[in-house]
Structures are given as C-alpha cells and as structure tokens.
C-alpha cells in the first residue's frame, strides 16, 4: 500500500462538499469513497477498511462522535474530524472518543492534505529497535507495545506519541514539539490535541492513570517518559 494509492473514506452529509473534497483528494492521488450518514459510514468502513477516515461531526442518523466511537472500537485507523464548531466541548469530545486530529471548516485544502499525509506517514525507521520504558517494552518496527508479554493495543498515533517520548527518556517534550513530531504541525496549533491524546495513552498504558509513572507531566513545560528524576 503506497501513500499515493491510500484509500480515504469521506463521511459528510453535504454532498456538494463531499464531491469537492473527493476532487481535491483525487487531485492529490488518493482514492476516495463516500458515506453520507452515520450508519452508512460504519457499514462502509467495515466493508472496505480504508486507510483513513475524514469524518464530519454533524451527521444524520448517528453523529460523528458515535461513528468515531464505533470505528475506534474495532480499529486504530487514523480518523480526522471535520467540524464547523470550534467550541471546546465539541472538539474535545471528538478527540476523547479517539479522533486523531481535527480540521475546522472552512479549512485550507493544503492544510487538510498536510494533515492527511501526516497521519498516513509510514514509519521512517526500518531498523528493528526495541525500547523499554517502565515495565513496558516497545517494538518500534513491529508497532507493538507489551507489558509482561501481554500486547497493549494502541492506535498508530498513540504508538508514535509513546515511541517519541520513549526514545529520549527523561527529556521533556513541549506540547509544541510533540505537535510537530506527531501531528506534523509546523506552527502553533491547538495543544489540546496533545493533552487529550496523552490522557488516552495513559488510560491504556498506565497501571493507575490518575498517578501516571510512564508518561509524566512537567508543569508549565510539557511531558516526558519515565518517572520524575528526583
């Protein structure tokens, strides 16, 4: 599966927008499929297993949040939400149910393409590398995280986030740096993306997510992997 032939599922009830989106995406070499409501989107996803989902929040039948929840339950596929509302509540809800990123309408097409590319990026390092942080072992090439031999399922984004932190234990990463390294943002963006995904990651990898020891917060700066060096 090359980047150029990646299949993208566009879910939007506005057919004109969906049509224009597919023209733009096809212009960039992607393959595009459509779904116009929530239940259809879930069915279409199961049928075709696309490489990425572009998901509108406001959908008839089942809204984008619900669709996202259902897809996330069975797959770690990158999901980018399209939202007309910049209200904190909507954005955070989308991220909390597992969307990797979000784009606010009206978006710049070039920016959308950049977001999509960042999410479809192939792992750059082909050397097999195993990182250990806390009681976790991270197989970078195999995209797997295990605790005591037990596999912890992570989405690609969560894996990237953990791998970047774990590669340089004790180094503090600011939210801006993480945004650039994980999401591919070149300029200031919404740091809530980082916060929400760190929360989701902790819920999966920490023994006690309320008292994290693997990914810790450095107040006023950012995050780092490993316990605080006392």
């Amino acid at each position: 599966m090359g980047l150029m032939s990646a299949r993208i599922l566009v879910v939007d009830d506005d057919r004109a927008l969906a049509e224009m989106l597919s023209m733009v995406l096809q212009g960039e070499g992607f393959l595009v499929e459509h779904a116009y409501d929530g239940p259809a989107a879930v069915d279409q996803f199961r049928a075709s297993r696309p490489d990425l989902v572009l998901l509108d929040v406001m959908l008839p039948g089942l809204d984008g949040i619900g669709v996202c929840e259902q897809i996330r339950a069975e797959s770690g596929v990158p999901i980018i939400m399209l939202t007309a509302r910049t209200d904190t509540r909507d954005v955070v809800r989308g991220l909390e149910v597992g969307a990797d990123d979000y784009v606010v309408k009206p978006f710049n097409p070039a920016e959308l393409i950049a977001r999509i590319r960042a999410r479809l990026r192939e792992p750059q390092d082909d050397v097999s590398e195993t990182l250990a942080i806390g009681d976790l072992s991270i197989d970078v090439a195999g995209h797997q995280v295990t605790r005591n031999g037990e596999v912890i399922p992570l989405t690609p984004l969560e894996f990237d986030l953990l791998a970047i932190l774990a590669r340089k234990p004790q180094q503090v990463f600011t939210r801006e740096v993480l945004l650039e390294k994980v999401w591919g943002y070149q300029y200031k963006a919404d740091t809530r993306l980082v916060n929400v995904h760190v929360q989701r990651l902790r819920a999966k990898i920490e023994v006690d997510p309320d008292h994290p020891v693997i990914v810790t917060t450095v107040r006023g700066v950012g995050y780092r992997a490993g316990a605080r060096a006392e």
Binding site: L17, M23, K105, N108, P109, K188
Partner: protein
C-alpha cells in the same frame, strides 16, 4: 467728625464682642461636638430617631411641668396650712400668757422675778412649740426686776430678724410672722416660721415681744418625699413612654423596613424578592405596586435575556451554517486553481479573486464568531504561565517578513511568566503589530515590554500617519475603518481591535491608544499580574516620551486602571496531570 469716630469705636467694640463670642463658641463646640455630631448624623438619617426624640422631648416637658405644678401646689398647701396652724397656736399661747400676766398680783413684787419662767412655761404648755423667745421692746424705761429677754433656745434668738422686730413694734397688728431658716449648733438647718406677738407685763415692766418658732423640718421632709415620689413616677413614665414609642415606631416602620429590604434584595439580583402584605391598606397599596413593578421588571429581563440569547444563538448558528458551503466554495476554487493553466487570462483573474475573497470571507466569519462568543459571555480562558517577552519575540519574528518597517522589541521587563491565555495575547499582539505595519508607512516600529509589581504592559509604537482625535475614539468600534480610502495590505475584518480589547478585558486588562495625526500611534496593552490585583498602574506611559504632551494631555500614564469585570470561564491547561 466726633460722631463718625464714636461710630467707628462702637463698631470696633462690637467686633471685639463678636470675635470673643466666636472664640467662646468654638471652644464650646470643641467639647460638645463629639456628642452632638453623631447624634446630628442620626437625626438627619433616621426618621425613627427623629420621631423618638420629638416624642421624648414633648412628653418629658409635659411630665416635668406637671410634676413642678403638683409639687408647688402641694408645697404651697402644706406651707399655708402649717402657717395657719402656727398662727392659731401662737394666738392661743399669747392669750394664755397675757391672761397669766393680767392675773398677776401687782403687789407681789417678789413674784416678778419668777414671772419670766412662768410665762415661758405657760407658752410652752399651750403651744405646740418649745422654741420661745421673749424680749422687752426697746425704748422703754429700764425695769430691772424682770430680765429684758429670756428664751428657751439660742437658735430662735439668732433667727429673729430686725425686720420682724421692727414690724412688730410699728404695726398695730396682733401677729406677725416670717419664714426663716433655723441653724442648729450641730450645723443642721431647717426651714421654719417665727410668729411674733406682744405681751404687756404688769407693774410697769412694759411691753415684751413674744417670738414662737415653729420648725417645719417635718413639712420639708414630707415635701421631699412627695418630690421623690413624683420624680420616680416621672422617670418610670418616661421609660414607659420611650418603650411605647419604640414599640409603636417599630410596628409603624416595619413595613418600610420590609420594603427597603425587599428592594435591596431585588437590586442585588434576587429576582424573586417580593414584599409580603402588611395588613394595612396604605402599605398594601405600596407592596402591591412594588410587587407589580418587580414582576414587570422580571418579565422584561427574562424577555430581554431570551431575546439576546436568541440573537447570539442566531449569529452563532448563521456563522456555523455558513461554514460548510464556504468550505465547498473554497475547495471548488482550489480545484479551479489547479487547472488555472488551461484557463484564459480573464478567467485566471476571476479564480484569483474568488480565492482571495473566500479567504477574506473566512476571516470575517471567524472574527464574527469570536465576537459573538464574547457577546454571549461564553468565553473560556485557557491560562498557562507565559513569558510575554518570548511571546512578543515570536509574533514579531513571524510578522517581520511581511513588514517593510523594521520592528524593534525593547524588553525592559516582563520576563517573569504570567498566567494568561497565550492564544489571545498572541492574537492581540499580532493585531497591534499588524496595524502598526499597515499604518506605519515604512517607518520603524518599536514594541516595548515592561512590568511593575502589579502589571505587565506591551506597547506598540509606530511613526506613521496617526489618527485624528475623532478617529481615536472610534478605533475600537466594530467594523470601523480609520480611512476607508486607504489601501489595505494585510487585510483585516474590522473586528480585530474590538476583539483585541475584549481579549484584554477578559484578562482583567486594558487596551488603550494614543495617536496624533502625523506623529503616529501607540497602542498599550496592560495586564494585571494576578487575579487579586484590582487597581494597577501601567508600567509604560500611554503617551510616548518623544512627543510633547499637548495641554490637556498631561496625564501621560493614563492613571490608575480599575480591573474590568467580565463573565468568563477559566480552565487552566494544566488542570489534569
């Protein structure tokens, strides 16, 4: 001339008197002020105090005059009855004594010497008094057989006045009396009456004055007892009346207090505050009226609240609804742009215009949404400790590429991180610097940062065209443009400064402007350092140092700033860790 002089002298004298009077008054006032002033304040402020004072003074005066009247009439009555008694008593004694004297055998010369003691005895026996003084009238031929005066007590002797003596002698009246005070040897004194009459002694012994003293100490005791009783009664009555007035005024003023209390609660925002009925037709009219007013107000407020919520919601909905078609248009224009090469020159230009206008539309929509969020009071501050110098450096670095002007950052202070919503502060600074670039005509731009104990300030100064005084007052108005004919290089929606001012206010800060035609402008953002800072002074002067403050613009600092109140939601980014 003499007349004038005397008038001047009298005037001077009058002035001296007046000055003296003033001095005395001032001295008196110094002593009574601490007592009078609080009372005067109370008097002017409280209807209840006035009512109680007036009632107290009037009833007090009535009771006092009644008491004085009772006391005087009782004492007069007692006194006159005692006097009459004394006169009768004395007359009886005189008659008895005179009878004894008349019955005296003139031949009994030896009996003369004992006559004085027997007269005394008779008088003592017949009268109620033991105080007797007999004295031979002066101006008669000496008579040695009887002493010229004899008495039972010296107290009486001392009390007999010359006046009484002379009146007895000159007047034909048989009885004379005089009220006196008896001074006893032990220092006591008591009021009394002396009744004087004359006795004619036999054997040419001549006329003697008989003085009988009546002690009125018991009368005085009775009187003082009466006075004490009266006083006690008066005090008791005053207390009782005071209590009565207090109780009545409380009853009367209670509805007023209830009304005041209710209106205060209503004013404090308790929309459900209503006045209870007071079971009095006048007050019920008042409370009904008041409650009707409160109902009307509440209904009106609800209506307005509803209307404004609807309007804000409408603006927000419209903005959101516009986003999807706008996105589609934008994507379409992007598709067209991709095929620009196959289009004619006119069509190419049309595609270009389409995409720039779509972009402008988008900016406008974003700003419109932002301002509607402020209008609706639905702004969430996401504060984090931010180094404002770094923030300004970043903004300036990103704008420098677009700017024909050299932008200099002068960080005099403000390195200590402050808790702010960095996104909003960045928006304010880039807006100000952007404006400076647009209106700066290529002259340098200076961004100054400084701080003091309570506040941090960022000032953006340009030496461009500046604004007239009239423009300065409108610069923060929505959709207001300083000069509609000016070419716009960086674009802008006309809402930028309005949003910036709201962004400042939501932090408890201020965005202010100084500008003068031909001399450029300075925008100053002042932010308080902490939540508890309510009054602060900006560390940077509003009027730049390089200009002469015109007359009337001497207040270069802008003075004290009072934290503006805004309804905001706070969510620090580090809420969870």
């Amino acid at each position: 001339m003499a007349e004038t002089g005397s008038r001047g002298a009298s005037r001077r004298a009058w002035r001296r008197v007046r000055l003296f009077g003033q001095r005395v008054w001032l001295r008196i006032r110094r002593f009574i002020r601490p007592v009078i002033d609080p009372f005067a304040t109370l008097w002017s402020r409280s209807l209840m105090v006035r009512t109680m004072t007036i009632t107290g003074v009037v009833t007090g005066a009535m009771i006092a005059s009644a008491g004085v009247f009772v006391l005087t009439s009782v004492s007069n009555d007692l006194y006159s009855s005692r006097r009459d008694q004394a006169l009768q008593d004395s007359a009886r004694a005189t008659v008895a004594a005179q009878g004894l004297l008349d019955a005296f055998d003139t031949a009994d010369r030896g009996g003369l010497s004992s006559l004085a003691s027997s007269v005394t005895q008779t008088v003592q026996d017949t009268s109620a008094s033991q105080m007797i003084f007999v004295r031979r009238q002066v101006g008669q031929t000496p008579f040695l057989e009887i002493p010229s005066s004899f008495d039972t007590t010296s107290v009486l002797v001392q009390a007999v006045s010359a006046e009484l003596t002379s009146s007895v002698r000159s007047d034909g009246e048989p009885q004379h009396w005089q009220p006196v005070t008896f001074y006893r040897d032990d220092g006591d004194s008591s009021p009394g009456i002396i009744v004087a009459s004359s006795l004619t002694f036999p054997s040419g012994a001549g006329v003697f004055d008989l003085f009988i003293g009546y002690d009125l100490a018991d009368t005085e005791q009775t009187l003082s007892f009466v006075a004490r009783t009266l006083l006690l009664t008066a005090v008791a009555m005053m207390l009782f009346i005071g209590l009565l007035v207090l109780v009545i005024s409380r009853i009367v003023f209670r509805p007023i207090r209830v009304a005041a209390d209710t209106s205060r609660r209503l004013a404090a925002g308790e929309a459900d505050a209503r006045m209870p009925r007071q079971h009095d037709e006048h007050f019920d009219v008042l409370s009904d009226g008041f409650n009707d007013m409160a109902d009307t107000l509440q209904a009106r407020i609800h209506e307005l609240d509803h209307l404004s919520a609807m309007q804000q919601r409408f603006v927000s909905d419209v903005s959101h609804e516009l986003r999807t078609p706008l996105t589609t248009i934008r994507l379409a224009s992007e598709v067209l742009k991709g095929e620009q090469d196959s289009l004619g020159a006119g069509q190419q230009r049309a595609v270009e215009v389409l995409s720039t206008q779509v972009e402008r539309f988008e900016l406008l929509l974003t700003d419109l949404l932002e301002i509607s969020r402020y209008d609706a009071g639905r702004v969430t501050l996401e504060t984090e400790p931010t180094n404002l110098v770094h923030l300004v450096d970043e903004v300036v670095a990103s704008l420098q590429q677009l700017s024909p002007s050299v932008i200099e950052v002068r960080a005099l202070g403000g390195y200590t991180p402050v808790d702010v919503d960095a996104r909003r502060i960045r928006r304010i600074v880039s807006n100000l610097v952007g404006n400076a670039i647009e209106h700066g005509e290529g002259h340098p731009i200076v961004v100054t940062i400084d701080s003091n104990a309570d506040a941090t300030a960022i000032a953006v100064r340009d030496w461009g065209v500046g604004m007239s005084e009239q423009s300065v007052t409108h610069v923060f108005d929505r959709f207001w443009r300083a000069d509609p004919s000016r070419k716009r290089t960086l674009g802008g929606t006309g809402l930028g400064l309005a949003i910036a001012r709201e962004d400042a206010a939501v932090h408890g800060g201020f965005l202010e402007v100084w500008s003068r035609l031909g001399e450029g402008s300075q925008f100053r953002l002042t932010l308080p350092k902490r939540e508890d800072v309510t009054d602060y002074m900006s560390p940077i002067a509003l009027i730049p140092e390089d200009v002469d403050p015109h007359s009337g613009q001497v207040d270069v600092t802008g003075g004290w700033l009072k934290r503006p109140f805004r309804r905001i939601l706070r969510s620090p980014r580090e809420g969870r860790s």
